[in-house]
Amino acid sequence: MAIPHSKPALIVGGGISGITTAVEIAEVGKEVVLIEQKPYLGGNVIKMNNYFPKLCPPACGLEINFRRIRQNTRIKYYTLTTLLEISGEKDNFSVKLRSAPQYVKDNCTACGKCVYVCPEERPDELNYDLTKTKAIYFPHEMAFPAKFSIDDRYCKKGSCNKCVEVCEYDAIDLSAKEEVFFLEVSSVVFATGWKNYDAGLIDNLHYSDFKNVVTNVEFERLIASNGPGRDNLIRPSDNKVPKDIVFVQCAGSRDENYLPYCSAVCCPASLKHALSIQEKYPDSRIKIFYIDLRVSGRNEDFLNKVEENRNIELIKGKVAKIEEVGDTKNLIVEAEDILSGKKIKHEADLVVLATGIVPSDATLNLNKDQNGFLTEIQKEGIHAVSCCKKPMDVSSSVKDATAAALKAIQLTG
C-alpha cells in the first residue's frame, strides 16, 4: 500500500526538549528530522548529575528516549548538523542544513582503539573544560549515537593519521568535508536550548580569579560519578573533597547589571546539590544564600527536606563579596543575613555560583525578546520551545516540548 508521503517536521536541537518533540511527533505516526550540532544527543541534561526533586539520573529517561529513537524509523537524526536557512511557508518550508565534517563514520564500532594512539588532547566540553580527553573521543559512556568523534581544533589530521592506521573498521576519514544539503519540511521547531550565564562577568564574585569558585553547572560535573573526581566530589584547586560548601543564589540573576530575570531553576538546583552532597558526605556543611527561595509547587516538600537537614543552612541575603585565603585557597564569602541584620563572613572550601540560563546563540536571525529569548511563534509553522523561549526546568521543558509536538502535527496532517 502506498502511503502518501508527508513532509517531516524539523526539530532543531537534540537536547531533552528536541528529543521529546521529535519522539512525540514520531509516535503519533508522523515523520521527523532531528538535528543537533554536537556529536551526540542529550544536550545539557546529559551533563547533569541528577534531577530535582527526585534526585534521579537524567540518563534513565534518556536511555528510554534513545531507545524510542533507535526503534522508530520515522525519526531521522543528524548530529554535527546546523540549520543555515529557512525559506517558504508553513507546510512547505525548504531548509538548508550543514553537516560538519563527519571524520568518524557511522560504521565506527566504538571499540576505543583509536584513543590509545591519539597523541593530542582537548578540553572536555562535557566537563566544562575541567578535564581533558584525546582529540578523538567518545563523548560520554552513554553517547548516542554510540560512536567516536574528532575535535578538529586539536586533531593534526593527515600529518598524524595514527587513528586511521589503528582503526580496523576503516571508520575514520580525516579528509571528510562538510556537507550542505536541503530538506523539505512542514514545520520547524527550535529547541536550541540554553547555556549558563558567563560567571566571569560578575566582577565581585571572582569566578575567573579564584579556582574554588565554580558555577552550578560545573558542580553538576564535579559531583557526577562520571565527572572529574570519578565517584568523589573534588574541588579544583587541590582535588580534595570540600567539606564546607557555599551556594550563592542569583549569581548574576535578577540583576540589572547582568541578567535581569530569574532563571527559575537555580533555587531547586542548589537544594538538589546540597542534598546530593549530604547523601555522599553526611558530615559536610552547606550554606545557601538566597534572596527569595523560588521552589514552586510540590517541590515545597523538597525544600522542607533541606530545611530539616541540620547540616544545610538557608540564609536570606545575597553574597556580594568573595575573598580568597592565600595558602589554603579557601574562600571567605560575605553577605548580610537580612533577617538578623548582621553581616556574615564565612570561610568555605568551595563556592558554587548559581548562575542562570541564557538562550543559546541562534544561528539564524530570529525574533527575540529584550532578554534574547526567542519568541514562541516566529511565524506560522515555526515555533520555539523550552529554554530558548524562556527559562524553565526539565519537567516544564518536556511538557513544553510535548505541546510543541501537537503544534507540529497540526501541520504535518
Binding site: N204, C250, R254, D255, E256, N257, Y258, I291, D292, G317, K318, V319, A320, K321, E334, A335, E336, I338, G341, K342, K343, K345
Partner: protein, 364 residues
C-alpha cells in the same frame, strides 16, 4: 513594634531627589556587603532602603547611619535592581538639612530650579540695599579699589551680621538634630569620653580616612580633599583679610604670603571642583545621579572661586568691569557661605554632628 503609617510624600521626595526607583529594591543586601563603611551589626544601606520605601521619615531623618555613608557609590554600582542607595542616602541628607534648617523659605528657594531667580535676587537686593545705605551705589572712578565700591567697614559689618544670624539658626538646627539623635538612640550608652570622641571624629574628617575604602570612585578622595582644604584655607585667608582691613593696608600685594595662600587655595578648589564636575558629567555609572542641589552647590562654588580669581586679576589689570565682577563674586559668596546650612554644603555641619554622635554611641 513599629506602627506603620507610610509618609508617601516623603517617599516621593526621596525618589525625586535621588532619581531612584526606590520601590524596586528587593532587599538582597548586596549594598550592605559591598559598602566598606557599613558596620557588621545592622549594616546600612539595605535597611534604610526599605524604610525609605515604606515612607518611614522619622527613622531616616534622625539616623546616624545616613551620615556614616560618604556616598562613594559602591552600593549603587553593584545594586542588582539599580535603585541607587547612595543617591537615596544623599537625598535623605538633603531632606534632613531642610528639616532642621530655618527659616524654611531659604531652603525652599534652593530646592528647585524654579526658585533660582529668587535665590539670586535675594543676595542681589540685599547687597544693593547695603550699598545704597553705604551711599556707594555707583561705579567708582579711577584705579580699581573695591573698598571704594563697598567700604570695608560696611562689608565686614553687614556680612558679619548676616553670618551671625544665619549660623545662629544653623546651630539651633544642629542642636535639635543632636537632641533628636539622643532621643532616638536613648538605649545606646555613651562608650567613650568627649575628648576621645572629638579626637577620633576630627581625625576621621581631617584625614578623610573613610574615603580611601571606596572602590567605585577612585579619584573622589583627592577631589574632596582638595575642595575641603581649599575651602578651609580660604576661610582662614578671609579671616586674615578681615583683620587686615582693620590693621593693615588692604588689599595685600600679590607677593604677600596670605595672598599666595589665598591663590593656592583657589587653585586647589578649582582643581577639586573640576574633577568633581567631570566625574559627575561623564561617569554617571560610578558617581551616581547628580540632582539640582548637587549642581547648584558645585557650580556656585566653582563660580565663587573663578570669580574671586578674576576679581583679583581685574584689580591688577584695572578693568572697567571689575566692580561688576566684584558684585557677582559677592553674590557667589552669599550662595556658598550664607546658603551653606540650607544647601548640600550643610553636610559639613550635620555630618560632623552625626559622626561625633555615632562615635559616642560606639556605632562603627
Amino acid at each position: 513594634m513599629i506602627d506603620i503609617n507610610p509618609d508617601i510624600e516623603f517617599k516621593k521626595e526621596v525618589k525625586r531627589l535621588s532619581n531612584s526607583s526606590l520601590n524596586e529594591c528587593m532587599q538582597c543586601g548586596t549594598c550592605s556587603v559591598v559598602c566598606s563603611l557599613a558596620p557588621d551589626d545592622s549594616p546600612f544601606p539595605r535597611k534604610e532602603m526599605i524604610w525609605a520605601g515604606w515612607g518611614m521619615k522619622e527613622r531616616l531623618l534622625v539616623n546616624t547611619d545616613i551620615w556614616l555613608c560618604h556616598q562613594c557609590g559602591d552600593c549603587s554600582t553593584h545594586c542588582p535592581r539599580d535603585v541607587k542607595p547612595a543617591d537615596v542616602f544623599s537625598a535623605i541628607r538633603q531632606i534632613t538639612y531642610r528639616h532642621y534648617a530655618s527659616p524654611k523659605f531659604l531652603n525652599t528657594i534652593l530646592s528647585k530650579p524654579i526658585w533660582l531667580p529668587v535665590a539670586i535676587l535675594l543676595p542681589v537686593i540685599v547687597i544693593l540695599s547695603i550699598l545704597f545705605l553705604a551711599g556707594t551705589l555707583e561705579i567708582p572712578e579711577g584705579t580699581v579699589n573695591y573698598s571704594k565700591f563697598f567700604p570695608h567697614a560696611w562689608l565686614n559689618g553687614s556680612f558679619g551680621i548676616i553670618t551671625v544670624i544665619i549660623y545662629c539658626f544653623a546651630i539651633s538646627g544642629l542642636i535639635k538634630f543632636r537632641n533628636d539623635l539622643k532621643a532616638r538612640y536613648h538605649d545606646a550608652k555613651a562608650q567613650k569620653g568627649f575628648y576621645r570622641r572629638f579626637m577620633t571624629t576630627s581625625n576621621e574628617i581631617v584625614l578623610h580616612s573613610k574615603f580611601s575604602t571606596c572602590s567605585a570612585q577612585k579619584s573622589r578622595k583627592i577631589s574632596h580633599l582638595l575642595v575641603f582644604y581649599g575651602f578651609i584655607l580660604l576661610l582662614i585667608v578671609t579671616g586674615f583679610a578681615i583683620i587686615a582691613t582693620l590693621t593693615h593696608n588692604y588689599p595685600f600685594k600679590f607677593t604677600n604670603p596670605v595672598k599666595i595662600m589665598g591663590n593656592v587655595a583657589g587653585l586647589m578648589l578649582v582643581t577639586g571642583l573640576g574633577i568633581m564636575i567631570i566625574n559627575r558629567l561623564f561617569n554617571k555609572i560610578n558617581y551616581g545621579n547628580s540632582n539640582y542641589s548637587d549642581w547648584l552647590l558645585i557650580i556656585s562654588f566653582f563660580l565663587l572661586v573663578i570669580s574671586g580669581g578674576i576679581v583679583e586679576l581685574a584689580r591688577f589689570m584695572n578693568w572697567y568691569y571689575a566692580y561688576h565682577l566684584y558684585f557677582f563674586h559677592l553674590v557667589c559668596v552669599w550662595f556658598v557661605i550664607f546658603y551653606l546650612p540650607y544647601s548640600k554644603l550643610g553636610h559639613m555641619l550635620y555630618r560632623t554632628i552625626a559622626i561625633g554622635f555615632a562615635k559616642a554611641i560606639d556605632r562603627k
